[in-house]
Symmetry: C2
Subunit: 219 residues, 2 copies
Amino acid sequence: MEPSPQFERIRAYYLSLLPALTGDAWELCTSYFTVRTLKKGEFLQKQGVVANHVSFLNYGLLRMYHLVDGREKVSEFFKEGDYAADYRSFLMREPANTYVQALEETEVVELSFDDLQIIYQRIPEANFIGRLIAEELFKDICRRTTMQVTVSIDEQYAAIVRDKPWLIQRVPQYMIASYLGVTPEALSRIKSRAGKRSRKIPLRPTTPVITEIAAAAKP
Amino acid sequence: MEPSPQFERIRAYYLSLLPALTGDAWELCTSYFTVRTLKKGEFLQKQGVVANHVSFLNYGLLRMYHLVDGREKVSEFFKEGDYAADYRSFLMREPANTYVQALEETEVVELSFDDLQIIYQRIPEANFIGRLIAEELFKDICRRTTMQVTVSIDEQYAAIVRDKPWLIQRVPQYMIASYLGVTPEALSRIKSRAGKRSRKIPLRPTTPVITEIAAAAKP
DNA sequence: TTCAGATATTGATCCTGATCAATAATTGTC
DNA sequence: GACAATTATTGATCAGGATCAATATCTGAA
C-alpha cells in the first residue's frame, strides 16, 4: 500500500536485480507484501504443511532442518537479506519435508503463492526477478553440494570460521555440527585437533579415471 | 533457421512450459540453437573452463562429476529430455568445478550464454521459461539433498532400482556407488545384504529438540 | 550472586564403511 | 569362441565418526 520502511531492504534487493523496476510496478508488489515477526523458537514452516509463502528476512536468523528418526538435521541457515521458506514445497505445492525455525527474533516480508502468480501475470518483468531468485537459490545449493563433496569436514568448518563468522557467533555449535553432518562431539574434536595444522594425505585413485584421450579415441 | 526435426524434443519441452510460445518467438530461439554430437567418453564440460552453453539432451546419457584428490565423485546423471551443463558456472560466468562426460553417444541442442541473453531481451516470455528451468533444477537438487539427509544408502539404492531403473541398466555400478557417496565394494555389499529385509533401528534423539511450545513460550 | 538448564568437552567403546588385496564375472573385440 | 580389459564380488584389516557416559563450561533468570 503505502511506502513503508519495512520494505526498504527488499526494495533495495529487487532494485539491485532490476534497476528499471518502476514505481507503479513496485507499488503493486508492496500491496501484496505482509510483514510478520517471529519470536525465538517460533516456526515459519513445518514438515507436512505446504509452504504458502516466500519470506524475505528484514532481520533475524532462521534455520531449516529435516527431522529424521527424531533427530534434527540442519540443512540451511537464513539471515537478514536472504530469502527463506521451503522453496521446493512452495514451487511444487507439495507438503514440505523441512522445518524452518527462528533462532532469534526475526522479521520477514511475506508474499503468498497466489499473490506471486498475480504479480507474475501483471508484471512481466517479475519473471525476470523470479528467474534471478531461482538462479540465486540454485547457485547457493550448488556451492553447498560442491563443498560437501570436495572438502573434508575439518576444512568445511575452517571455511565457515573464515567466511561466515556470523554463523559461529549466532548459532550454537551443535547446530553447526548438524549442518556439517556430524555429531556435536565430532565437531568438538575437530576444533581441538585444528591446532595441529593440516597434514596432507596423498591419495591415489581407487576408481579408473577415464581420460578424454583414451575414451574419445575409441569410436 | 528452418524447422528441424532435431529441435522437436526441445520444442515440446518449451511448449509444455509455455503453450503460448508463438511461431516467431520460437523461430528466433531456433536460430540460436546448434546441434552437437558427443561420442562416448567425450566431455561436454571440463573443470576450470567457464560453461558457455546450456545443453538440452535429444538422446544419450551424461554424467557430471567432481575430481577430488584424483578420485571421481559423481554428482548427477543427465539423460534425454534433461538440461545438462554446469549451470552454476554458466550463470556465474566462473570456471566450472565439474566435468560433464558422455557415457553413451549423445546428441545435444546447445545455446550459448550470449545468445540466451539476447533471447531474454527480445522475448520477455523467455524469462518465464528461464525461471521455470531454474526452478526445475532447484527442485531436482533439493530432492537429491533431502534424499541424502533423510534416507540410508541402502534405501537410496532401493529407490534408484525402483524409480530409475534406467540408471541401473545404462550406468556401471561403480558410478552409481560414487553417486551414492560410497565405494564400489560398499555398494556391492549393500546389494547382497538387500536380501535380508530391512531391520528397523529405533533411534532416540541425541540432540535436544526445541519444541515450538517451549521455545515460543519465552518472549 | 547463585543456580538450573543448556551447551561444550573429553574419554572409552563400538560399528560402519574405507582400504587393500585377490578372485570372479562380464563385456567387447578380434 | 577366446582373450583382454573392464567391472563386480568377496575377504581381512583399519580408521574415523557414532554412541554412551561423565564432567566442565556457559548463559540467563531470579
